[in-house]
Every structure is written in structure tokens, then in C-alpha cells.
Subunit: 137 residues, 2 copies
DNA sequence: CCCTACGTTGGACAAGGTCTAAGTCAAGGC
DNA sequence: GCCTTGACTTAGACCTTGTCCAACGTAGGG
């Protein structure tokens, strides 16, 4: 959080109340909010913050590599603040809850050259699906 | 295709011209159309077919397990007719082209019990990202 | 303390998808 | 073959998610 803001300042970010609030709302583990949820929580602390600013800020954080976009299904994109540590996701099919997980092995190297079709492969996303203990009960 | 229609009849599907056309449009390998693309191609063969019917039919095929939804980013969901053979996807970040790929190993078993958080895990989706040879040139 | 370029705002707009009420038609029964 | 009926289709309104813009506000260098 403070770390994040510091890094952003060093990269020429102007530090506004809105950006601070968005960064605060996103801090923590296993946080995967939609843009609207970020906006709702930000509004609690800074009532006048606009949707456009939330989208702008999220977009900037994504291109700076501080935030990860997670698109699970065709609904709203979620944002994952845990972008600096590589990880994958475990998604509950019923309630949509997401957990960060760390499978064994390296998924990237599991794709043989013959299956790359000439692509330059740079990244891989793994999403496990299932039912969380809460929904199973 | 004919196989597909036969399976659907056996499951009580009423066989209409619209459903036939949607099934036809989707047949083939490495096909990953958006709902709108399906609608456009279906319209060539059956001009009056409506968007709602295309969405309905796609949704039904997905719940019958004949079609796979692929949501790559926040843009339109794509539909993959290759649902009966397990496979994963390789996506071009620039133009959005998707290829079906078959990595080595079993991604499902790569998630240790300690990383399952009590979830009943049933499925895993792997999406490789990169640049396709066309866009690289 | 001022200036100015960067940031924020609200509202209009666009794309993707869902819903509904009214009309149509596949297919089983005669 | 023809009727009947409930499943299917239709057009269009509507919703959600996300983008764009022109006018306004302000962080931070000088």
C-alpha cells in the first residue's frame, strides 16, 4: 500500500485522493473485486469519486503491472492486487468466490514446441473450477 | 454435425431450422466464434434468425455439454464446438485468434490438496497467451 | 503562491447480453 | 394427412459493463 504508492510516485504518478483510495481498497490477499465493487468501497471513503476515475485508475495500475485482470466468465472483470507474485486461480462455480493458488510444476513449459503453432508464448493462466465448502453445505 | 443433431434429438430437442443452422455454423476444428459472428453466419443461410435465438441455442448447447464457453478477456465470449475432446487454448494478444492446444501433463493433479481450500475441484482451464506468427510479422 | 499539465467529473454513448409478450411451428396422436 | 399443443422464435426494450469527451479542479514544480 504505502509501498505501492511509493513505487507509483517514483514512476511519475500524481498522487491524488482518488488514487490513494483505490489503492487502499485493493490491498490485501485473496482480494478479487469488480470495478463496480471497487467503486462502491471507494465511495464509502470518498463520496464524490466517479466511475470513470475508478476505471482509469484500474487501467493504469494494470498497465503498470501492479494489478492483474481476471476474467472468469462473461461477467464483470475482476482485479487482483497480488500481481507481483505469480499465481493461479481457484473459482467457485456457484458463488464466484476466487482464491489464489499455487499448483506444482510450470504450466508454461508444459506446452511443447509442436503445439505452439509459431506463436511467441509469454504467459499462461490456469483457472481451476469447482464448488467451495460454503456452497457445498 | 449430423451426429450432434442426432444426440440432441435423443435428448428431447425439437429440431428447428434455426437450431440446425447454428449447429452447422459451429462445426469444424479451431472454430471459436463470438455470438455475433455465429449470428452473422447463420443469417447468411436463414435471414430471419434473431439474435435471441442464437443466444438461446448457444446457451442450451453449453448446458448440454456440446459447446464450451471461452472467455478470454473482457470482450465477447467465444464458443468452442470441440467440447468432447479435452484441450486448452493458445490466444494471440494482438488479434485475438485462438488455437486449440494439448499441453503435456495433467493440470488438475498439479493442484495439491493443501492448495484446494476445501473446494471440490472438477475442472481446469489453461490459457496460453502470446503473439501469433501473423501479428509478429 | 501561481501556473499548468495532469487528473477528475458526470453524462452520453457503445457493445454484449437478457428478458418478455405475442406469434409460429415440430412432432405426436388421431 | 390434419389437429393440437407446448416448445420455439421473434423484435425490441432493457440491463450491465465499460469507454469517451469536454469542462472543471488540483498536485506539485518553480
Amino acid at each position: 500500500m504505502s509501498d505501492l504508492l511509493k513505487r507509483l510516485r517514483e514512476r511519475g504518478w500524481r498522487l491524488t485522493a482518488q488514487r490513494r483510495v483505490v489503492a487502499e481498497v485493493l490491498s490485501g490477499d485473496h482480494i478479487h473485486l469488480t470495478a463496480d465493487e471497487v467503486h462502491a468501497r471507494a465511495t464509502e471513503r470518498l463520496p464524490e469519486i466517479s466511475r470513470a476515475t475508478v476505471y482509469n485508475t484500474l487501467g493504469e495500475l494494470v498497465s503498470l503491472g501492479e494489478l492483474l485482470e481476471v476474467s472468469t466468465d462473461h461477467r464483470a472483470t475482476r482485479y487482483d492486487p497480488n500481481a507481483r507474485r505469480p499465481h493461479h486461480h481457484l473459482l467457485c462455480d456457484r458463488c464466484g468466490t476466487i482464491r489464489d493458488v499455487h499448483p506444482t510444476g510450470d504450466a508454461l513449459s508444459a506446452l511443447p514446441e509442436s503445439e505452439r503453432f509459431g506463436y511467441t508464448v509469454s504467459d499462461v493462466a490456469l483457472t481451476y473450477r469447482g464448488i467451495c465448502p460454503n456452497c457445498a453445505a
